[in-house]
Structure formats: C-alpha cells, structure tokens
Symmetry: D2
Subunit: 504 residues, 4 copies
C-alpha cells in the first residue's frame, strides 16, 4: 500500500491537516527498495491476536515503522496500533488483553512518520450499516488517486492517506447488500497490485490482485478433535512456521478466499489472466527461509550467485557479501568460483529508531552506523563484493570506500539483480527514475561512480535460469520485472494522468 | 455537544472499535450538571492560535477534559488536540509553533475519557472538494442519531461519536456549491441547541441555533492603522477580556455570521422565532465575570441570593456558601438577611486528574478531597448553606454531614435554582430523570434525605425577578428552563424515537 | 528545606552534575513568598501510604512541585516520588500498591525543577548499618553549606542539594549506636528552622527546631478495640481533618517525639528557649481552616482585616480581595468599615504546569492567566484592594492596572502584613533584599510604583492585636517576624560566611 | 561490573529501597554468558559526547540494557543516562546538546532492570572536595561486598548497587591529596577483573586490572596542525574504527594511563604479574571485527572451527551455524571438513525490548522469536550444528528440536569452546555451577539431554592451537580460562566469605 501525495487542499484527513512526509534518515540510508507491508489474518483460534502478533513478528522485514491488529470477539471489534516494531507495540500483556477474540487481522507498515500519522496505520476499520469491517493490505493501487477524487466529490470524507481507505469507501457506498458482493464491487473498480486480508463479523477474507503480483498464502493448524481447523492467511510462509501452521497453498491471482466456520470458499470474480509474480521478492524482499510460489527463496538467491559467478567471473582472493541480503548470493558465487567466502563486512544490528545527527566533524570521519569492515579479511586482498541491487548508488559508494580504506587492493562489485532502471508502482518504494543510477548511467559510468574496479549485474537470462527456466523467454512472462524492464503489466492510471508525456 | 450512545455494531468509528465510556469518578462526584463545551474563533491576527489558547483558557470552566485548535495559515490547516487542560495541551511553545496562521478555531470539551477517544476531541476537520473546514460546537442535536443512521446507510463513514461529525457529513454530501450554502443546507436538517464556530479557507463563521439556547458572542480588537480589525467569536465575554477584545454584540438566535477580510456579513436562514436562552447559564455555568445576553452573571447570582433570603428566611448565625459556585448567592443572601457571610467550607483546588481509589478504610473516614470544613466558623452555629442546585443529592448529603461533624447546631440549605426535575437535551450533561432527586421526592423528603433542618429552592418568580422581570410570566418565555419545568422548546426527536411512551 | 546554591565543583551530586535552577515562570509570577514544604507521617494503620497521600493532598498548598512517600512494611522500605501534584503522583492505584505497610512518611515540595531533580524530592532514604531511615523536612538550615563542606571534605558523597541530606550524612557518620542518639547527635550540629519527620524500622519520629519556627502537630486516630491508636504527624491541622484524626497537641519547640508500638515518648535534647513561631504562617501560608499554635488561621486573618480597616480607613464603594489569600482580611475590612465586600477579581484555578510563552503581541495585551476582573463590580467605583503582602510589587502593579482598566475610579491598596523588608532564611522562599520593594522604597514611592491612590500596611501593633496581644511589645517575642523586622532569632551562619559585610 | 545482591536492610540506596532484580526473559533466553559492559573515553575533541555515543554504539554488543555519558566542558560536568540502546538514548540531537565539552566518558550496561534502576547506570559521578570525577567500569570486583560493608559501617551512604560505587567511596575517603593518588589508593584495596575509564577536570584516565582480564585499548586521532591529538580509550578496537581513530596499543595489565593536554603518562602501581586475558572474549564476547591482544577475533574463531573439524569430524551433508556467533567457527569447520556451509537457521534481528508473554497455547507451538529454520536446507540432511558454548543447555535443546522438526535426519553439535563447568566472577554473567549443564553431566548425558546424535567440544589444546600456541601448556597461563578449568587467578573474597565450604 502506498501513500498518495496530494496537494494540501484535497483529501487530507479529518483532524490532521498537515501531514509531514519526512522519514527519519537512517531508515532510508541503506538505499534499498522497500517492501511496503506485510499482512496476516487468522480465523478460529484462542488468542487470535497473539498468533497475529507472532505472525507479524515473522513478517517484520516487510515493514518496521508501524503495526496494528484488529480482533473480533463475536460481539465487538478491538483495535490496537502503534509506531514501532511488533515486539514494542504488542510486547505488553496488558495490550494483548485488550484484543480478545477468535479471529484477527494484522499489518506491518513501512514508512509512516511521526506520531500524527497513526491514523495511517492499518488495519483500517469502519462500521458499516451491515457491521464492522477491518481491512489490511500490501501493495499499491494504480488508480487510487483517481478514485479518491471521485469519492471526495461524492461527499466521502477521508481519514487517512492510504489506498486501503479507497477500498473502505468503495465498500461503504456499494449498492450491493452482502459484504462479499460489496467487496467484489469495490475490487472491480480498483487497478493495481495488492494482497488484502479483511475481517468481518462473519468471515476472514483474503484477496490477491488479478495478476498476483504481491504474495498471499494460506495455511492451516489442524483443530482439536471435534473442532474445525484454524486458518491462517499471510504474506509469506515464514509466518506460518512461527505459529506452527502448515502451508496449504498460495491464494491464486484474482482469487477471493472466504473463510468462516463452514470452511473455505473461493470466489474468482475476474477473468483468468497470466499471473505476474514480483521477481524482486526472490531477489531481496522475502525472508530467506520463505518459500514463494513454490520456490525456496534461499536456494534461488544462492543459485543467482552461481549464475553470476559463471557470467561475470573475476580473479580475486575473497568473496564478501554486503550483509545481510547479499549473503546467499555471495555463498553461491563462492561455491561456483572456488574463491573463499569471508565476512569482510560486519553489520551492526543494534540500530535504534533514531540516531545522532552527525555534525560535520563526525560526518567527515566517514562514520558508518550499520556496517563496519573486518580489516584482517580485506587488507591487501582482491575483493568481490556481492550485493542484491543498486538503487541510487549512494550506499554502494560508501561501502566500497570503507572496503578500500580497510586495505582492499581491488574491489569488484557483483549484483544479484539486473540494473534497476524503472520505478515500481506496485507496492515497492523506489525513487523516481531520475534518481535511479542505472537509469542515468551506463555500466562503465556506474563502476566509476561507485568506485569499483569492475561492476557486473546478473543478466536477465541468468536471473531466470536461477529461477529454473531456460532463459527469460522461457519464463513466458510468468513474473513482473517492470523495475528492470519497464514492462508494466497493470495500467498506471494515476501516473499517466499526472505525467501525460513522461513514460514511467 | 454530546456523545451519542449507540450499540457496538453501528456507527463506531474507523480504527477504534470499542469505545469506553466510563468517566473518572472524581470529575463527576461534585454532582453538578456539566456544561458540555466552550468554543472560540479568531480571524485576522498574528498568532491566531495563541489568542485561541488564551480564549480557551478563559473558557476552561466549560470543559476540562480535552481541548483542540485548528489554525489556517493561508495554505494549510494545522491541528493540535489533547486530553487535559488548555495549559497542559498548549503550554509548550513548540506545540504552538505547529499552529501558524492568522485565523483559528478552538474547543474545550467536557467528558471524554481515555486516550483512544482523542478522535472525539474537537474541532473536527475535513477536507472537502472545495477545501478544508474545521468545525467546533457547543450544544446538542436532538436528531443527531436519526441523521447519523441515515448517513451511514448512504455510505458515510463516521470517525467520532460527536454531533459535530453529523454536521461535517451533511456538509460533505450537500449538493450546493458554496461552503455557505452547504452549511445552511446542513443547518436546515438538524434540530437542537448549539453554538458553532467554523473555519474555512475563506471565512470564519459563527452560528447560533434558531432559539439561541447556547451562547455565542462577537468581539473585536481594533486593527493597527491601515489594517482591518481582528474578529473574535466566543462562548462568553470573559474570553474577550483575556485577549483584550471589546464586546460587540451577541450572535443572534438563528444567525450565521460570516467573517472575512471584507468584514462581517449576517445570514438568517431561519424564520424568526422567540429566543430561549438557557437560564442555567446564569445560575451555574457561566463564569461570574461574564456578561450574558446583556446581564452580568455575578450580579444576577447575588440578586438570586437576595430573592432567596426574602422568600425563605431563617434564623441563623452564619451564611456559608458551598464554594465556588454558591459564593455570590450566599453573599446576596447575607446582605438581604443581615446574617454574616463566612467561609465555612474550604475548597481544595489542587485536585489532579486522578486520585487514589479509596480503600474501604479510607472511605469510612469520610474523606473529602475537594472540600473541607472550617470548624471554628461552624462549631455551635446555626448554619445556612447556599448552593446553586441539587442534582442527585449525593454531594449535598456529604457536605451537610461534614458541616454537622464540624459542630453545626442547625443546617439549613438554600438553593439558588428551582428544583431540577427534568433532564437537559440541549447540551448539558444531566442524569436521567429517575436519578434526579427532585423528580423523585417532595421537598420534605429531600430535606430528610440530605439531612438538613430546612430546605428551600428559589421560586420561579423569584428567579425571574432576579433576572429583572416581574415574575416568570413577565419573562414571556424568554428563557429555556426545561430542566425545571419540562417545557422543551425543541423537539426531542432521538429521545422520542427510543422512548415512545416515556416523556422526558 | 531549601536548596543550597553552590558552585559547580562542590557538592553537586553523583550522576547529575549540572543542576538547572530555573523554575517555570508561572509558579512564581504571583510574586508571593513561598512556603517550602509540608510533611506528614503516620504510624500503625492499614494503608499507611494512602493516609499519607491524603494528608499530603490537604497540605498541597505548602508545595506543589513534587511529592514523595516512603512506607515500611515490617521488612522493607518502599519509595515513590514524582514531580507534580499529590493527586497526579499518587492517583494511580497501581502506584499505591507499591507502597505497602503500616507506617509511612511523606513530603510536598516547593520549587524543584526539571526531571533530573527528582533526586531532590523528599523523603530522602538511606540504608545505614543499623537499618534504613527515611527523612522528610520542612524548613531551612542556616549552617547547611558550612556542614556540607566539612562532610564533603571528610569523604561524604552528596546526592542531592537539599538540607535533608546533611541530616542523613550526620546520622550516618555519628559514632553513637542507636538511631535516636545519632539523630540527637545530628540535631545538635545543625542550626535553623525546621520540622522533621523520620521513619525507621522501629519508630516514627517528629522533631521541631529549638525555637519552633516551623509548625508540626500531633494527631491520633483511636484504634479498634484491643489495638493501639494510629499516630499522625503533620505540618497543619487540616491534614488531620482529611484523615479523620483528632488533634492532640503541637510538637513543642525543640522536642523529639518518638512513636512506636509502646506509645509515644518525648525527648528534649535542647536547653529551654523562648519559642518563635513564624508569624507569616498566619498571614499567608497556612490553610485558612487550620488551627496553628492554638489560633484559628481564618479568624486571625479576618481580625487583621478589622484592624487594618481601623488603622487605615478610606472612603470607598467596594472592598475587593485579591483572591484567594486576601479574602478573609477583605471580609474583616468590609465588616469593620461597613463598605460592601465584592468579588471584583476572579481567579482562574485551571492553570496547568506550563503555559504558552507569550509573544510580544500577547504580552502587550496585558494578559492575565490567573486573574480576571469582574467589570460590573469595578466600573466607576472607588475600590479598596486587600492583599496579604507585597514582595517585589510586580504582580500588585499588574492587578492595579487591570482594576483601573475595568473602570475603577480610585484604587486603594491595603496589605494585611507589615512591609516585607528582609529575606527569610528559615524556610520561606523570598528574593534577596535588593528585590524587595519595601526594602528599597518608602511608602509614597511604593504607592506610586504600584499605581494606587493610597497604600497602607497593617502596623506591627495592629498585627499583634489581631493575634490577641495588646501590641507587639505585649507578644514578648513570641513570634519570628524577621522578614518584617530583620530581627533574626537564629544565627545566619552560611549567609554571614558568604556576606561578611552585608547584613541580611 | 556486577550487581551485588544483598539483604534488604543493608546497602540499598537512598531514595529507592526495594530493587527489583527480575530481568526481562527474552534478554536471557538465548542462554549465553553475557559480557557486562563496554567503556569508552575521549579527550580533546569537539563534540566529545557525539564521539562517545558512536563508540558506545560500536560496543553495543557488550551491553544493551542501559547507557550513559558524562562530558566535561571545562567548567561543569554534564550527564545523560537512559535505559535502552545507545541509538535510543542518544539519538536525539537535543539530548546531545546537553552534553557539551571536549572530553567525555561513556558506558554500556548489561542487565539492569526497571525504571528505578537508572541510578545503577554508569558512568557514576561524584563531586569531591577536589572536584568532580566520573567513573565507568567493565568487570567485577571479587571483594566488593566486603569493602562495601566496611564503608557502610564507616558512614558512607551508597546510592547504587554497582561495584563502581565502591571505587567512588574509596576515592572519596582517601587521605591522599591528588586524584591520581586517591585512585591508586582505591585500586590497591580492590581485587577483581576490571577495566575502568575515569574523567576528572584535569585528565582522562584508563585502568586495567593487574592481570588484564578485561580488555582496554588506546587509540588516537591525529590533531589538526598546531593542535594536540584526540585520545581514545575503549573496550575494543571496533570502537576506534567507527570514530576514525588509529589503534595505538593495549593498555597494559595493571597500568594506569593518565591523559591530559600535556600528553599521556603511564603509572604502574602494582607489582608485575603474568597477565591473564579472558579467553572467552575470543570465543564469544568480542565483535568479530575487533583485534584483541594482537589477534583478530574473526580469524581466531574460524581457526577454532578448523581445529574442531580436525578433532571431531563427522560424516554429514551440511554445516549449519547457530547465528550469529557460531558463523565464523562453522565456516572454519566447513573449510576444514569440505562439507558445505549453509544458513539453515535464520535469526530474526527485530526483537524489541519486550515481547508477548506466551499463553500455554502459544508456548506449546514451540514458538521461536529469535530463530527460525530454513527447511529446504535441513530437510533430509545430516546436519552439523556449530555453536560457541553451552551454558544451561536450554536453548540448545530448542534449536535441535527445531532443526529436527525441519526434517534433519541427523543432528551433530560441535561447540567452539571447552565445556563451561565453572561460574565466572570476573565480569561475565554466568549462572551458578549447579545450573551449568557441563558441571552436572558427562558428555554422553549432555548429548542425550540436548537431543543430538553426537556432541563434541573443542579440546583445551585445540583451543590454544587456534590461538597460535602449541597446546594449552604452550600458552603458559597467558589467559584466564577459569570458566572451563576452575583455575581462578584472582581470589574470590566475597564468594569464599559467603560459601566457606563450597568451591566455586
């Protein structure tokens, strides 16, 4: 889900008029694309909100800025939301006690800022004529602003700046009677990449967009004798593992699953289409121990490293990952190249929410809060640095400088994705094209800007080979790789309206 | 404005599903009726929000639980709200710095509870197609719930449980084009007693209900040479004094004043009616240094004491007020009776927001946190206690017991209002009829229950004589005194719908 | 107790090196002398800390900045302290639950500032070889700094900047064996005006300085059958009333009372001296419903008003008190003069801990946060303002200006104390002499500076007549009135050491 | 430094009588020994406190519960302390602004608990006759309680329960005149393992205990032209790297370095002894990119893995580290054995300060908040798990269970330290002997209890070979390995006094 950026006079919400969109620097300075959200839902279990908190904890990598849970106890819905990590927001037993019930949905959010934006934290909840509904979603609507303007014109009052609220209002004004029909009515009006969990009095629902760009999986905990099973919906399989649930299947692209005490039903309101799962989930977003769309993420990353070593071999003394995401690819590269794998860069995980704003003096010291070099491993060596992507290139430059300062004789950078040349409009926070290094420079320029002796990205064919295909052609458009190719499978309605002449 | 109490499944707001309507005990234990809110608005001045904070501070007696300000800086609206006193919420210069602009509206609120109800704190703000609008109101709509149900059915999503939000949605869905026309459209649909200030990009607006039950006054600070004046709207004149504004006039019943840089315009969308100002403002709510509807509150109270002494004389040694509200009437009673006025009860003003929940042991000690007796003044004396009203009678009983424990030989209670026999539906928080002492008992029974040697209330004619009329008849229905008479001048739509057979 | 102001390098405490002695403006802007502390202790009752919290609440007027309680449960001592009012710090049942035990001591503190100074909040507690001891005191030692320097030289490490800690270290290093003997040893080394309550494992102790400058009284709640009584020590009788205790007697000057399960013992380690009770307690500090040293405070104040009217009559239309402290004297003045008493100035009690720092614009509006004028009472009138004292004169000037702005034709100021010409070193926070208006100007100049048509103070003889003596002579030095006379009954050791040539 | 646990009646500090020693569960549930503290000091630089915060951030692994900095600005000392990570406590620029000065000392603390224990957070500061002194220390005194008792008997009042305060009081009561002489006087009375940094008005001092058990290193940032260098003292070299300082040398065992504007002086008040550096720093505590006592920690750990593979080979399919500390040894094991290294266990770094207290239901699910298994890597495999130590064995058991649940066919555990059979009294938080698995069971029993197919620890000789010696004999008692051998090089005074018959 993504923030819509609109002018001050339209759409800003009741009770909080001047949103501040600055995000604390250190959350962005790693210069990575950022997944915007993880979702989790559970039906039919004691302590539904505790299970949800655990599931959200396992999905913490998909959003660290805020989190929320709505539970339903058969009579009332209960909400708790907060800024911070799942463990901080839900760590207190007294908080969990305010969330009773046998069903719940939860959400991890990337990139809110400041106390006032608590109203943007999901799940959103609304009370309709037919009862309450809580909605949490991961992804981005490409026509959200267009829809929002029409809704505001009609008299709808928005509280947040999230896409989810567009869903909520579309459901509220639908002329259909049942929640399901209203949900379908709403879904037919939106365009975009999204996975959505929703909780009403009667059912837990899960939806994946028609192309299945964003992930959503279904799991189950067998019930005690005489009781029905507990159903789980989650963004990734790692959230099933932590609650002891078994993987059942992916929710299918364009499918609505409706879970209630009678069991699970499937609704497919859309015409069948070729699915286009986000390939970047494999490269960077997903947790390495997740299995996505039938493929183990860790294995895939290692295999990309193997392909990368084959394509872009270089004589060197050590293979050093940029931790943590570069580790599996570096291991694969090491195995394929026979060059030793070493932890030449140490990551400091104790980075709090804020940190000292450096004075010039300190900035000049080249301080790195997150990474430090392991000098004995680097000194005098020819180093291959393996990382997963280059966005702006700013962090890459700093890391290369650190590695050279630690004595590296040569530094070769190998990237386990193709060059990121286009913005994502499907739920990933990427800068606009003009700030993407690969969109502005050729390989040689990039190598020079980053300060390396050589630079190579995995090829498209190499990437798809690592995914088990013969080459990109062989994958038959099975994935969305628009950030590399510019081939956008879902129409960019809002973007095109605002930028009539500039292709994304 | 008042909270609507509705069942869990309807109308409860997005993101906060289980409102908790318990109010901390000590805020209610004085057993007084409570005014529900003060409003303030200012146009055309530097530091509009600082002036608003001062005005709200002067109106603090009209609501102590929460407060909020919305300012407009020519481009954006800015909001800050909080639970607590004005000085606590706006005492920080860094908070005031977030509220720039030359116009602002503010609100003091009685009786919210708990952190989650911050969304009920006014002013409410919404962004419409035509721009933002902030609304703060004092009073109560008698058809709010009926309207709310219809709006929810239409697809409107409510965020708060306040009447103000009904206004907001009526404005949002109006088919008229201009803010003014939309406001009039909304006002024509609501019934009730209310004073309202609203701030748009283009104007500060003030509205008083057609009968003028709740107060709203207009003031002015002359502008520097070549500049227009600063306009102020406020619930009471004491809020003009604190900001150095001069009283211009009362906003008239049914009048909309529209203030912008061109000056002030008046719109009267309603048919002319007999006004019915709330008589209880004189007796208890208003600050003694305010002038309401042309009459000084302090003088009126003293005069009621004079009338009371004439009507219900008693031989006694000292006249003792129940502080603070009983003081002027007791002074009048003393002057008229020639019996000395003494401070026999001391009020402790240092009562924090919460206090120790008494154990049984402490409760048995007859602890009084707010009042203590001044024994040397009471010991061995025949005491006339003067208070402004009796609601449930619980506090009166405790005070009488305290006074007797301090040695009073006789205790006579004199009340500066007629017996409170009916609930208020026009913005005053009163318990339901079955809990009103005077609705359940005759004078003799009341005296016995309260434990006094004699009890007398001001007569209707005495009350109106103190207000300058010959008698009640002579006041020609110029006031609303429904809480004493049951003569409700505005239809009780919601109440009648829910209680088809029980008169209010 | 008072803060010692010392240079940065000596005596500042472990763990907090840079005390900030700025006090929020609004706590001082009333330009009154400030009592520095109230103390309370209780022995042998269930819920000792709840009783202590109630007693401290009744003593809130003696200190509003911070409060603390230490209880003893037979095994361990328990402490809770906080900045703010008693109701705020101890309002939470969960806090009270952390303070179990049948005995407790508590303290209200005036004039701490900032979160870091929590270590200055009393009672102080120390664990000695012989067990724990909690000490709370009201007053000021005149040789505290001299003692502190000697103790630091000896190797004692101070944690706070309070006089109480000097007691603590003197007790710690005493060579005597028992707590009592160590306490006496410590008391013999200190000079000053103080009342002290202390709690050990074995006893509750109360001490009054040899001249009895500061108050301390003893009360009792009769025990249930077969149980001993509950004993109470408190600064004023109003704290007995709130807990339902009966007044037994004043602790005598120079007396140590030791209360344990065997009953109460009295130790008198000092030579008998003429007692010198602080006369300002009657004029301003004490609560009007307290009885001090056998005299009712309220009556005394009224009587001062009577004497003042006799001494300094003036033709006028209304007598107006500066609330709240001027009220009883104004009543007495009104009775004696026959001129009506009216509430011409209204006090706003809703002043939070901080308030908006006024911009120049607002400051120029002459804003008064605490007081407002009741115009109808003042307009066109000859007004006698009655106040209790003039310190710097700044507030008096503002109030006179307000009263004139409200239309008063003449303003006459009458003060119920003699001119404050000297600083207090015995526990009252007064500015240095150079800032005392009466120390720098004669009566005529003062009247002009304050802006009144006439100004009069009660005479010394009038003051003592109100206290029941023939004249000052007749009171035979029964009181300390050093702030008016400069006659300091206790040697100013520290002051004289630092100001060898300037008399206080 | 370590908390002394004493009975309620002795030594508990002023103002906080009932310490609560429960530590949040999740900080201990990893069942590792815990380093108790990191120290940092800097002399002669702008923004000394910012540099200190950075240094403490790099040392965060040595203590995560609390942190503090004392700076000196040439006139005053300034302190800020807080519970939480360095980035949380010092992340706010406004906080850093309260810590001006060109010199500072700081401290990271392991294992405080609860808000009230803020007084235990170091550096401790005291104001002496000769000026202020701030002291921070890492380690543990073996005669702290004995000294404390004597000091309390003498009249010293303790504020904290830390060993550092014993230093402070010993310095305070010393009869020597200069800070240095007083420090030496104090050091001669204490026994234990400690590294200490202290800051006075005149100098930054660093001390290492006579055997050099705990680390302390000296670094330097060259000064600008004409200015002296900036000196840095820190627990580990990684703290030099982050501030851009160059390693100068280890502070030597028993050495006091005194740094002031004249340069650096060395004092050696103790007789020369064989140094005994803590071998566990290499195995677990130190950051892998630190160099300790001339040896790179990362290399040493890898080499232990190599030795372990040689000593305890096993046929297997994958080598899996228990992250993060087991990674380098597992890499070494993989290299030496030729069996592939795989990330079969994923660590979740987003663990907040608290987490949901599991209900029974959740507990039964076998939830792991910190670790999850990467099933595809483990399923059907013979797995060698490499970890650094086994303390109680509880976590090992859970991890083995997880690995088996993920499908592992065989699980072999290899530990990169000898069996932990004795408690540490020199600054490492270990449970008492009766809870150490290796102290209670032989190898076979341990393997069964942990649930592995085989279990092996590195041998003593293997460990010392990895450190570059021929065998343990060859290391000539160069290290303290008391936790493995029970050979305690410093007398356990307190322990022996309390446990006269039970050897440690």
């Amino acid at each position: 889900m993504s923030r819509i950026r609109f002018s001050a006079s339209s759409g800003s919400p009741m009770g909080a008029c001047a949103p501040n969109d600055d995000v604390p620097a250190q959350w962005h300075d790693d210069d990575k694309p950022h997944e915007e959200c993880g979702v989790f839902g559970v039906w039919n279990t004691k302590g539904a909100s505790a299970l949800t908190a655990l599931g959200l904890h396992a999905l913490q990598h998909r959003g660290q800025e805020a989190t929320g849970i709505v539970s339903y106890d058969g009579e009332r819905f209960h909400t708790h939301k907060g800024l911070g990590l799942v463990g901080d927001v839900f760590g207190d037993a007294s908080v969990m006690a305010t969330l009773p019930g046998h069903s719940a949905v939860g959400h991890n959010r990337y990139a809110t800022t400041g106390a006032t934006l608590i109203r943007n934290v999901q799940p959103l909840f609304a009370d309709f004529e037919f009862g309450g509904l809580a909605v949490a979603h991961n992804g981005n609507l490409t026509n959200a602003e267009t829809l929002r303007k029409a809704l505001v014109r009609r008299g709808c009052i928005f509280q947040s700046t999230t896409d989810s609220e567009v869903f909520i209002h579309l459901i509220a004004i639908s002329l259909y009677a049942s929640v399901e029909d209203r949900l379908i009515d709403a879904l037919k009006q939106v365009l975009g990449a999204y996975s959505l969990v929703a909780l009403s009095r009667d059912a837990l629902m899960g939806v994946r967009d028609p192309l299945g760009v964003r992930p959503l999986i279904l799991g189950q905990i067998p019930g005690e004798e005489g009781e029905g099973p507990t159903w789980v919906l989650a963004s990734e399989t790692c959230a099933l593992d932590i609650v002891g649930a078994e993987f059942v299947r992916d929710v299918e692209p364009g499918e609505i699953v409706v879970i209630n005490d009678e069991g699970i039903r499937s609704i497919r309101p859309f015409d069948s289409k070729q699915s286009r799962f986000c390939v970047f989930e494999y490269i960077y977003f997903a947790r390495p121990d997740s299995v996505m769309d039938g493929k183990a993420v860790y294995d895939t990353r290692k295999q990309i490293g193997v392909e990368l070593a084959r394509e872009s071999a270089v004589e060197a003394d050590v293979i050093v990952p940029v931790p943590d995401s570069g580790v599996p690819s570096a291991m694969g590269y090491s195995v394929a190249s026979g060059i030793p794998f070493e932890l030449g860069i140490i990551r400091n995980h104790y980075v709090g929410r804020t940190f000292i704003e450096p004075t010039d003096q300190i900035r000049n010291l080249g301080v790195k809060l997150k990474h430090s070099t392991n000098r004995p491993v680097l000194d005098g060596k020819r180093v291959v640095l393996v990382d997963d992507s280059i966005v702006r290139g700013t962090t890459s430059r700093k890391i290369v400088d650190m590695v050279r300062a630690a004595g590296a004789k040569e530094v070769h950078m190998r990237i386990s994705s193709p060059p990121t040349m286009h913005s994502c409009f499907y739920g990933i926070d990427t800068p606009e094209r003009s700030k993407l290094l690969a969109a502005q420079h050729n390989l040689e320029e990039m190598a020079e800007l980053i300060g390396v002796d050589s630079l190579a990205f995995i090829s498209f064919d190499g990437l798809y080979r690592a995914l088990g295909y013969k080459d990109r052609q062989g994958a038959c458009n099975r994935y969305c790789d628009a950030c590399f190719t510019g081939d956008y499978p879902i129409e960019l309605v809002d973007y095109n309206a605002e930028n009539p002449t500039t292709p994304a």
